[in-house]
Subunit: 455 residues, 2 copies
């Protein structure tokens, strides 16, 4: 009998609702705060910046299931279901008794999971009569996805792309432009937030936090314009749960249930996307699956950050969120996983860590590229540097399973491919990549500056 | 009722045999000739350069079906079946009554159809105890595919990459290196063929013909080494028929049969792959489907070449083939569709054109990028410059269908994505792309130099 390698769903089996884990959490996340009043943010206050539907989703703590609009589902069908893949090649290369599965979000036309939320957010903006949107992007995965989504719904889009990635990954800039978006390297001189930073540090290569500040500022100054975010917030993770909901059905087709679920971690959306639907069974049905969020050792908010109210952006324009954070003015090292260079974790994930439902794992850059190369050579897919953090963690778990002689079932999310990140692989091949050490004092001096709202 | 967008096969429905159209052709192609004796080439002579299984396939004129080895099928499962997609977005953008379908080979982990033959050829080499292989590549799609296939079967690989593409598409070089291949820009100083060309023309930017000469020469000089080709030859098209065989079943699932089948055309393998399984019904069952091979206007062997015996490579190392050709020393313009910069057509296709079963269509470069951009914005996928020739032809057909008010069913092969060809899109966006005119005298002076074996 032939072993099945990939599992697909029929188009009519693609989920019809997203899963809102907050409704099932025993301890709800602390509320976001209006930074001026320090009071819980209201729907009206959210709607100044974001579209109404997403703002409602953001604050929804009661409905576990939220319907996916038909127009969004129709566009999902361009690439969903994505395959669940049994990594026989990787298992063989590791000689492990573990069964390794990955959910392959890299087959989206944009090359990553980001499209799942981009289509939803662009749809809601269009529905509400918005004409212009702004956003930030790190490595460009989010910006590329939103560029296509904006075009699909006839919206004008301006993307602030973190400068170090703008230069490392010029192809992603071209992709955004091909879809018709305007792309600006951040920090730029076109916003006050950008100017302030460049005045202090003309060579600053940018961060997601800074790019968010610029995108927010432009959105506030542009008529009929909303800001759109690619991670961190609850509604973004909500949209990404389509990943885990599909994976749940597909694991059933494979006749297995994961002992460990792994996602790389930047703001939390791809991690939440693959994890939350399975975590619901830990919360409600007594399952004991482990959930691992793989972050860069050089940007370790989950493993070395503190839990405190902080801003989502560098300039302090966003609401304050209760999060594991390195401080909103933390300047991450120039690792190639641009999508993980973010100072804080979303509020849901931060609460889940406090409640012991999941934990962070930090991976040095070189280990991620070693894992990526092994994966590429055994499965044929060159992974994104971000996703390689999940692969490295899966490999650690598979090796542990071998030591323990256990037939452990490991599931990770391959959030994207790395075909546009080849300069990073070039550096790895030529031995020019480095790990970055991050002394405790640097983290401490950053978080010391935070207002101590949580005493 | 929801409209289905994508059609997949179950893993057990993936074809178990390739289709060899030669067995069904009423007029068989003229034989390949040994260039020294001018006699039909023998199996033993083929085997000097190629592995035995592929040599046998090359000369097989009797068996319509050739079994796909189980090991190859198992690796096909990493990405096959590829989806057949109904291009609702493109239909809407064109406001056409035509039903447009495309077979999406870009979802292969390497990003193109090339893996279908790379896996087969690497497998046969391994089976026969070969340890080293050489090949050429244009844009790098073939080289990237063979790099992974070589790694999957434990072979050492050297790739001669056409110099203009080596510089235009550095990411594809990195991809090959990530899989462990050695990549050399062609013409190089490491072969006599390369040295001869560079002596005459130090700035020559290469062609597929030259790269083939170098790869053949290195293979002949290396112990236990075979040469592996990515297109043109019968056995390569044979392996690619898995595309059309899947598409046939998938079109059935969609409840339609194509009136027109379109593939871009370099050496003929992706075109043959999508076309031959359908063409068999024209030959055997009286169907009247049209088959269109889309070539660059600047490299128009099908529409402006002559039918004559010619070499497959620039230096004249290969057998002589009866082909539509621009002459083996034709130096194509530096268009971005590197995979289509080849002087001749395979022997099967050349015979099929003579027999009126298909025809060539030539498309100027700028039209291909206009088509590519429209396709990207309406379907979300950025196509390879090569595949964009097929898209442009499909768009021409869809517009014609609109003029005629016909509900024509159009099927084209999306042979690959263009995510690594973004410098080309950059040039298009900035208005720097050009069409290339090719005067008749240039073609004439080239083909005048050919020995007139066919009188």
């Amino acid at each position: 009998m032939e072993k099945q390698k990939r599992f697909f769903l029929q188009e009519n089996e693609i989920p019809k609702a997203w899963y809102n884990i907050v409704a099932d959490m025993k301890n709800k996340p602390l509320p976001m705060l209006n930074p001026k009043t320090k009071q819980p943010i209201t729907l009206d206050e959210m709607c100044v910046l974001f579209n109404k539907a997403c703002s409602e989703q953001e604050l929804n703590t009661t409905d576990a299931w939220i319907e996916i609009p038909e127009e969004v589902r129709n566009l999902y069908k361009n690439y969903r279901s994505t395959p669940l893949v049994r990594a026989y090649g990787l298992e063989k290369a590791l000689d492990t008794p573990a069964h390794i599965y990955f959910k392959n979000e890299s087959v989206s036309p944009i090359g990553s999971h980001k499209l799942n939320s981009a289509l939803a957010q662009a749809y809601y903006c269009k529905q509400e009569g918005v004409t212009n949107i702004t956003t930030e992007t790190g490595a460009g995965q989010w910006g590329a996805a939103l560029s296509y989504a904006a075009k699909a719904f006839g919206l004008e889009l301006a993307v602030f792309m973190v400068k170090v990635s703008y230069h490392q990954k010029p192809y992603r800039r071209s992709i955004m432009q091909t879809f018709g978006a305007q792309v600006i390297a951040s920090p730029s001189m076109s916003t006050r937030a950008g100017k302030d930073i460049l005045t202090n540090n003309p060579n600053y290569q940018g961060s997601l936090g800074t790019a968010i500040s610029e995108a927010v500022e432009l959105a506030m100054q542009t008529p009929n314009c909303k800001y759109v975010l690619g991670s961190v917030l609850n509604h973004v993770s909500l949209h990404q749960t389509v990943i885990g909901l599909e994976a749940e059905k597909q694991m059933e087709m494979a006749g297995e249930y994961p002992d460990v679920v792994i996602g790389c971690f930047g703001g939390g959306s791809n991690f939440g996307g693959i994890s939350f639907p399975f975590m619901r069974h830990n919360i409600l049905d007594g399952k004991t699956t482990e959930f691992l969020a793989a972050e860069p050792a050089s940007c370790p908010k989950l493993t070395r950050g503190i839990f405190q109210y902080d801003y989502g952006d560098e300039a302090g324009y966003t609401p304050m969120m209760p999060m594991f954070t390195l401080g909103h003015n933390f300047a991450p090292a120039h690792i190639h996983a641009g999508g993980l260079r973010y100072h804080g974790a979303g509020t849901i994930v931060s609460q889940l860590i406090k409640d012991g439902l999941m934990r962070g794992v930090d991976i040095p850059q070189i280990e991620t590229f070693e894992a990526a190369t092994l994966f590429a050579r055994s499965e044929g897919i060159i992974p994104a540097p971000e996703s390689s953090h999940a692969i490295a963690t899966a490999i650690r778990e598979a090796k542990k399973a071998k030591e323990e002689g256990k037939e452990k079932v490991i599931l990770f999310n391959l959030s994207g491919h790395g075909l546009i990140d080849m300069t990073a692989y070039d550096q790895f091949i030529s031995g020019d990549l480095t790990n970055y050490s991050l002394p405790d004092e640097v983290i401490q001096s950053n978080v010391d500056q935070l207002e101590k709202i949580i005493k």
